[in-house]
């Protein structure tokens, strides 16, 4: 029998299964909480810090996606301090690389852009780093643009956990961190890549896109992750 716990979410008493994360429960309650690295069906990373919430008794905000629910937990999701921190995270992401929405292939269909708009990020208070980053267009169908990568690792996880190819990895540390294919050889030379395109579809920004796409042309289809997981685990093939 599943264990049920009760917690207080924004002042309301809420029941949840003990194996759920806080983010699952928050979403079940239809509370709008932005995320960038989270993707239903993939393992959690807790890297983007947009889903931070205030847990009573905890010394600092906790990422809801990697925090299991516990009995008697008191959680607040939208305090002014949390909103401030979320804006800060988005501003830092925008300042770190070269995000130019106007000429981006996913302009209007971008998770980062939506998050910025939703959080009211009208300007960036930090100096843009304008790093001189390259693109990898060696693959026949897809292109990698490091300028737009926010290191959410959705590509790494979907390739490993769903496709099973594990083409993608992370190299370097700190500001020098990059996503790489097959120990940093050009994507087009990768022997492990099956060209399935799952990484491209789950990428929240225009960092991975279909070759030849022009501005605002690339829309991403993410529901397939759920279909595949459901099919694999429950043998239910519906979409």
């Amino acid at each position: 029998m599943e264990t049920v716990v009760t917690l207080t979410l924004n002042g309301e008493m809420v029941s949840a299964r003990a194996d759920q994360t806080l983010l699952d429960v928050i979403r079940e309650q239809k509370i709008d909480l932005p995320t960038l690295c989270h993707m239903q069906g993939l393992s959690e990373r807790g890297g983007c810090r947009l889903c931070v919430v205030e847990v009573q008794g905890a010394p600092r905000p906790m990422a809801a996606c990697v925090t299991p629910v516990t009995e008697g937990m008191v959680v607040r999701t939208h305090t002014p301090e949390l909103e401030h921190q979320r804006r800060l995270v988005v501003e830092l992401l925008l300042a770190e690389r070269n995000h130019v929405c106007a000429v981006c292939v996913v302009n209007g269909h971008c998770d980062l852009q939506w998050a910025a708009a939703k959080l009211g990020v009208a300007s960036v208070r930090y100096e843009y780093l304008h790093p001189d980053l390259t693109m990898d267009a060696s693959h026949a169908r897809f292109v990698l643009d490091h300028n737009r990568c926010i290191l959410c690792t959705r590509c790494v996880r979907v390739c490993d956990e769903v496709e099973g190819a594990h083409t993608w990895d992370i190299a370097g540390r700190g500001i020098k961190t990059r996503v790489i294919t097959d120990l940093s050889r050009p994507w087009g030379d990768s022997p492990s890549c099956t060209s399935c395109g799952k990484c491209v579809q789950v990428c929240p920004t225009g960092a991975l896109f279909e070759k030849g796409a022009t501005v605002a042309e690339m829309t991403k289809e993410r529901d397939f992750v759920g279909w595949i997981i459901r099919g694999r685990t429950k043998r239910e093939w519906t979409w």
């Binding site: 000429v103 267009a137 087009g188 070759k211 022009t214």
Partner: protein, 473 residues
Amino acid sequence: MAQTIVIDPVTRIEGHSRITIFLDEHGEVRDAQFHVTQLRGFEKMCEGRPFSEMPALMARICGICPVSHLVASAKACDALMAVQIPTAGANLRRIVNLGQLVQSHALAFFHLAAPDFLMGMDADPAQRNIVGMLAARPELARDGVRLRQFGQQIIEWIGGKRIHPPNIVPGGMSQPLTAETRDRILDELPAALTIAERTLAWFREQTARFAEEVRHFGSFPTMFLGLVGPDGEIEHYDGRLRIISSEGAVIGDQLHPRDYQDYIGEAVEPYSYLKFPYYKPLGYPVGAYRVGPLARLNLAARCGTPKADRARAIFRQKEGVLRSSFYYHEARLIEILYGLEKIQQLLEDPATSDEHVRAFAGPNSQEGVGVSEAPRGTLIHHYKIDDDGLMVWANLIIATGHNNLAMNQSVQQVAKHFVKSQALTEGMLNRVEAVIRAYDPCLSCSTHAVGQMRLAIDLRGPDGELLDSVKRE
């Protein structure tokens, strides 16, 4: 307690330029230079980016004529993909390009140039602008706003957005024409045509008062360059280049735009960021030529639409080849007529409504040139890419650049004729501005501000000493 709000500096003006006038020991004008003091860097910043991104990126060169850059860029990309784009795609690009021509010419004529004609060159600058025009001749100002709006609407309805429209893509267009859009434009066309004809008639009445300006506003022999169709008709989207002498003799005809480097050279002067293109066989600076509406009407055999051809015939009766840059204004109005008539013809062609508007391909060629006629003249985009389709090199020759030599010569001519003392007057300053305005230059690319450009004029003695300076901020 009273409070003061200070806005300093006032921004959102496009284009920065400066003019230096050199005097000899007798106080007479010896020389004058037109400096463009800004650098954009698009040719460099595009390196390493995929070619498919170029139309959208290059459109950002300008907010007034983004369609021109989109079209030239998309054509360069078509060449990189080595595709023949579908007829409907090409026709839709033509229509958006002509919509752009109409709105840009309307802006240049009504908002920027017409206040000089309505109020006079020596009128109070506080009145000599579109706002003053609204008070003095509201129907004229409204015509200008309406015509510009119509051009912008065509761009929005077919291009997807008024500024930086996204539907012009490598290989054609991303959206076909809907019957609803076609009918909306056709419904509104007659009203726009009436405005264009009315304005042309009004301007022709005014021209007689500006005989001195006609004689001294960049009135000198140069060659003229522009695209023409296979039969020498006026052409703004495709076609080949023609260059004629100041007497009208065809020097080069049906020159393939791809080979532009064989006949166009680009010189650099230390006093300006704008390059100085010249006709290579004649060398620099003898090979000066002009582009834009005046050049197109001087070199094309016909327009191919009835109203514009009639207007062109009257225009060309004045002289064989019109050499004064003052005539750019009238040429602009004739081109508005042509643009509207041509849009109508294209919309009525069933081929334009075909659903097949785009060709798809990867990079098939490592080098591509796209040339089109922007409102201000011939626009050249030249790209080189690597095997993966990433840009390695770009060269752009913007329409305003072609006119650089002529603009410098015009400034000298106006200065020599109108500056007689060592003190600058408002009327003189305005005439120097007005001759530049005749070319409707895009310095950033554009120097358009309401009524006046941000412009500074320095008057220097023979030893280089600064005698006087007038600034317009």
